[in-house]
């Protein structure tokens, strides 16, 4: 069976996958993240559901990869500033493999199950997307560092008026000094 048909016929895999991704958050809070469906009242829950559903639909053949990657990037942007290790931040992607494998192992006939070639091709597609998530994760981390440096710089100007700020922007290339953002003890 084709992976797209398999995923469409076994739609519960998607729910299981979303549940397991939500379970990467601390135990006592997961129920609330799962229950609230409003995207503004529950951005973590919404973005997990949205990204994973988009990816699932992509594997089902109904959503383009680029569209699914946009949703995935929104989710990685969130997980990159939560206290996950880099591996934990992107681990949810691999949980789909488990969910598919578990479902596949319950199939009694070859007609219902995924063939080896299909499985290997599916695994490879997930791995390729995983590589893209590393780029997204690093982009987010670098952005946090830039935000921190820029905030520090904004706080150290001696004269603050629009024309002076413009001059600073013009001279940006020459005024950047190395800052160890990990050890600096910022204060006003």
């Amino acid at each position: 069976m084709q992976i797209s048909d398999f995923l469409q016929e076994n739609g519960e895999i998607q729910d299981r996958w979303i549940d397991r991704a939500l379970a990467t958050y601390p135990e006592g809070g997961v129920a609330a993240l799962k229950a609230q469906k409003d995207r503004f009242a529950n951005p973590i829950g919404y973005n997990i559901r949205h990204a994973l559903t988009s990816l699932y639909k992509h594997f089902c053949g109904t959503v383009e990869l680029e569209q699914a990657l946009v949703a995935l990037e929104d989710l990685i942007r969130i997980r990159a500033v939560q206290e996950f290790s880099p591996a934990d931040a992107v681990s949810f992607l691999f949980l789909l493999k488990n969910a598919v494998k578990e479902e596949n192992s319950t199939k009694k006939t070859a007609a219902e199950a995924l063939g080896l070639a299909e499985w290997l091709a599916f695994e490879q597609r997930i791995d390729e997307i995983a590589l893209r998530t590393f780029d997204m994760y690093m982009d987010s981390r670098e952005r946090v560092f830039k935000v921190r440096v820029n905030e520090l710089r904004r706080g150290t100007d001696n004269v603050v008026c629009p024309s002076a700020l413009m001059r600073r922007e013009d001279n940006k290339q020459t005024t950047v000094e190395p800052i160890n953002i990990h050890s600096s003890h910022e204060a006003r």
Binding site: S91, F94, L152, D157, R188
Partner: protein, 548 residues
């Protein structure tokens, strides 16, 4: 093998210690200790800052001034720290009836549980307001209720231990006192006040943060957070006037510390000396010039903000006192306040009883429209948005909103002005008159239900940048929506802390969106008598149609 690794990953994230705090799941929350690591806590006050406060506020800022890190096992607390905390709690339970009520009346209905931006950004259950308050309630039950004294843990009590103290520090500094939870509480429990008490108690044993105490020390010594001395304060406003002249052709010469002025104007020092607050200050300067207002700045009351609110009610009172003192010294009739958030919580809810009554002042009456602001009949101080909205309503401002056509604007309600004083419609009324492209964020993220910037109450420090980014997620998520739907590129607000913190927040989540004060947009739109044709806005950005 890839799948085995995935299994291990899935297993570890569910069963190993919580990634948020190091807490081990599947145990009672009371038994899950917090773990401090770089990025999840603010640095303690520098020794000299701690010493300074101890000298000026003996008994309020306690503990031993010392060099240490919250990552250390030993926080070098006073020997009798436990006694100090319990006595402090006892004193506050007697002094503040609200605290006693909040300790007793929660029924754990859960209405607040998913309303906190820290919970929504971390998923950490101890950031549910009910559980955050329970951190203190458990100690209260243990030592101050009969059931708790007899039954201990069975009655939800637990003794005050070092682990509990560390947990208080972790979570009372993951609350911005925004009060969104209290909007949903059927009993009206104000968790912000629980956090305030938690922080007060921590200060008694020398558990504090530098980001709050250093600006508070500066404010006490030189009158403002930035530590600007009078000449610097005056000079920088002069530089702003130079740029206004270049942009508009109008020379403004504001006065400072002028006795006999009708109105004293007080705003956060960040408006005078920080990007992007300075553009808001330019808006004030243009507005007052446009009106020919009889007002003065003060280099003594040169700070609207009050980091005492984040520390201790006595420090708050002390820092606030200079506003009335200066008004009295200068002999003004009333006070006009600039765009700030927590400044207005202090003014609206505490100033009158802390440092009032200001019976030497008059009920604020606009000299331009004659409107008497009876809502400020006791404090004698009104908000710039109220003042401006009244001017527009009475047709007293010449405005060209097309000068803001290069911006598509939304409005962030600051927690303190919206929930703390009900300032909901005035800034919107002003905005709708000075910009043509204005769009609201979703209903459950604005007005009374607004989401915090994520870095208020003295949490806007660099060492916790990731924490700030996740705490600001619900706000940024709503901005993202209007950015994508309406091409919003400007997030306006009436709070100086917001202007600083939202700038960082947007840079991470929505880099295409800039941050500004409402008065900056007013300044762009104001048609000044005798001005030259404007080619740029107050940031020297070309106006729509002037790009070439």
């Amino acid at each position: 093998m890839a799948n085995l690794k995935a299994d291990q990953l899935g297993e570890s994230v569910v069963k190993e210690p919580s990634m948020m705090t190091g807490a081990v799941p599947a145990k009672d929350w009371m038994d899950t200790p917090v773990k401090f690591k770089p990025g999840n806590f603010c640095y303690p006050a520098k020794q000299n800052i701690h010493e300074y406060h101890q000298k000026s506020l003996s008994g309020v800022i306690g503990g031993t001034p010392r060099e240490f890190s919250y990552e250390d096992d030993d926080w070098k607390l006073p020997e009798n720290w436990q006694e100090i905390i319990l006595n402090g709690l006892k004193e506050r339970l007697g002094k503040f009836r609200s605290l006693k009520v909040f300790m007793d009346c929660c029924v754990r209905c859960g209405a607040c549980a998913d309303k906190c931006h820290f919970f929504l950004g971390t998923g950490d259950p101890k950031n549910m307001p009910v559980l955050r308050a329970e951190l203190m309630r458990s100690v209260y039950r243990n030592d101050f209720t009969t059931a708790g004294k007899i039954l201990g843990k069975l009655a939800g009590g637990r003794p005050m231990t070092v682990e509990v103290l560390k947990e208080w520090f972790m979570y009372y500094y993951q609350c911005t006192e925004c009060r969104r939870c209290s909007v949903f509480c059927p009993y009206g429990i104000d968790t912000a006040e629980v956090t305030m008490m938690g922080r007060e108690l921590l200060h008694l044993v020398g558990v504090n943060t530098n980001w709050i105490l250093e600006p508070a020390a500066n404010s006490n010594r030189t009158g403002n957070h930035m530590g600007l001395q009078p000449h610097t304060f005056k000079d920088n406003i002069g530089y702003l006037c130079d740029d206004i002249e270049e942009i508009t052709g109008i020379r403004i010469n504001p006065t400072f510390n002028r006795k006999g002025a009708e109105i004293l104007f007080i705003t956060p020092s960040a408006d005078v000396f920080a990007d992007p607050g300075i553009y808001t200050a330019m808006g004030y300067l243009l507005l007052f010039e446009h009106l020919g207002l009889d007002y003065t700045w003060s280099t003594y009351a040169s700070e609207g903000g009050n980091f005492g609110l984040f520390t201790n009610n006595e420090l708050m009172k002390k820092l606030n006192a200079k506003q009335y003192a200066e008004a009295k010294r200068l002999g003004v009739k009333w006070i006009l306040g600039g765009e700030c958030g927590h400044m207005w919580r202090v003014l609206h809810q505490y100033m009158d009883t802390m440092n009032g009554p200001a019976d030497f002042l008059e009920v604020p009456t606009s000299p331009i429209t004659g409107t008497r602001f009876d809502n400020a009949a006791t404090t004698k101080m009104i908000h710039i948005s109220e003042f401006t909205a009244d001017l527009i309503k009475n047709g007293k401002l010449k405005l060209d909103p097309s000068r803001n056509d290069h911006r598509t604007v939304t409005f962030h309600d600051s927690c303190n002005t919206s929930r703390g004083m009900g300032l909901l419609d005035e800034p919107r009324y002003v905005l709708k008159n000075v910009v043509n492209n204005f769009y609201e964020m979703p209903e459950n993220t604005i007005r009374e239900q607004t989401f915090c910037c994520g870095s208020g109450t003295g949490l806007n420090t660099g060492e916790i940048m990731e924490l700030r980014m996740r705490a600001g997620l619900p706000r940024a998520n709503a901005v993202k929506h209007v950015k994508e739907r309406y091409n919003v590129d400007t997030l306006s607000c009436v709070c100086a802390i917001d202007r600083a913190t939202l700038s960082a927040l947007m840079e991470y989540w929505n880099p295409e969106v800039g941050v500004c004060g409402v008065s900056e947009l007013v300044g762009n739109a104001l048609i000044m008598d005798g001005e030259k044709e404007r080619e740029t806005d107050l940031r020297f950005t070309p106006l729509a149609g002037m790009e070439g």
